[in-house]
Symmetry: C2
Subunit: 236 residues, 2 copies
Amino acid sequence: MINLKAVNAMTTPTPGPIACRSCDLYEVCRLCGITALGENRGVQRTGALRTLRAGTRLYRAGEPAHSLFAVRQGMLKSVDVGTDGEERIVAVNTPGDVLGTEVFAKRVFSHDVVAVQPVVCCELPLSLLSDQYPRVRELAAALINLLSRISAPRPALARGSMRNRVAGFILDLARRFEQRGLDGRSFSLGMTRQEIANLLDTRIETVSRMIQKLNRERQIEITGQQVTLLSLKPTA
Amino acid sequence: MINLKAVNAMTTPTPGPIACRSCDLYEVCRLCGITALGENRGVQRTGALRTLRAGTRLYRAGEPAHSLFAVRQGMLKSVDVGTDGEERIVAVNTPGDVLGTEVFAKRVFSHDVVAVQPVVCCELPLSLLSDQYPRVRELAAALINLLSRISAPRPALARGSMRNRVAGFILDLARRFEQRGLDGRSFSLGMTRQEIANLLDTRIETVSRMIQKLNRERQIEITGQQVTLLSLKPTA
DNA sequence: CGAAAAATTGATCGACATCAATCTGTGTGG
DNA sequence: CCACACAGATTGATGTCGATCAATTTTTCG
């Protein structure tokens, strides 16, 4: 196998930051009087920004919830910890995703959420929502729209052969990035093989073999976590 | 294998009907002025009731959406039809579930929804919602609560060995029924082995074998689609 | 009752898990 | 700067679970 290490040695791009416009929380932020962050002009009023180093936890399951979060840059995983202590990754969270939407019904978070890369996210305290009496109508509509969007059962990632699941995982990431205005042709998987294996309900060796197979078939080009789509296309 | 056919030959119970109180849509209905149906007293004002025979479609993906639905009795499946025409069952819908929650964001339905048993469901036209100006606040809160409840990623059904998936599927049904005040110890699977296999991403023969294995191990007792939990318990 | 669909059961095969060894990259302390 | 340690990733050999092919039985329904 040709060794391309040096080529992209210092490229460890975390996806994002995205434009506020392409974030799922945008309308809600706007109605709360939070002006777009990092857009055209100078200083802005924002929700609190939180930065997380890889491996850091954003919040924990069962913890009382006082905020919504929006991913601005980097990737996180939502983890379910079984009674036996083993952890299952139930979702990957990419820029533009909103975390903590369960708090309106539950008052506490449902999952552990952990950064798998350096992460920047926006924290929107729930108190900011309840302060917006003048705009209840619009705000409620925006929240309903946001929640409705994510209420439909997602097409399960983990179906079919392992080759399909791995390809599906990569395509899902590509699709997400493109929807958010990021580069969906060349990006970092963000997660270790072990984490991908956990998400896809398989083993690290299998993930490695399938990735190498896609690589040999020239469907993708991969070095470490950096992947470039070749013949593998979204919606194919 | 002992033949118990005659014992419960005429018991083909569809789950439900459930009490309105234990339905996810209850608060929303109440605020729309729809009085509980089939409760204490005589005649009531209700949302339209729809009955479906097994195999009938409630709605189709892409179809303009004018209503929410709540399952009152029986079971349905939410189906994703791929570009190649093959269908994947992405969810099973049991009494108390609300269908069509995606319409607030999309205006059209996301999936085909088909009755797998005789079904009775309540139809709540969206026009009834927009008529409730005096109560926007409460109604919006109820909708947000409903949507928030189902917004958290569900623990994936299809993980681990096929034995675990089949057991998990049965336990999931049991848990749902109990949450709605129905019998979670003895009930009908509602679906054919083929449909269960589709949902669990496996084959009909495997489903059959795993069910028989659980039966031989006295974890469950099964005849056709009628199942009784023995040592197999929810949250175990 | 007879036909068609659903379910069960058996035999064989292949994909993925498992066990094990090696390789690569990264960070650390001498 | 280099040697070393360690985690992540790759690759190979072998075993096992579930897919596949095939036949039969059971249930459902006209």
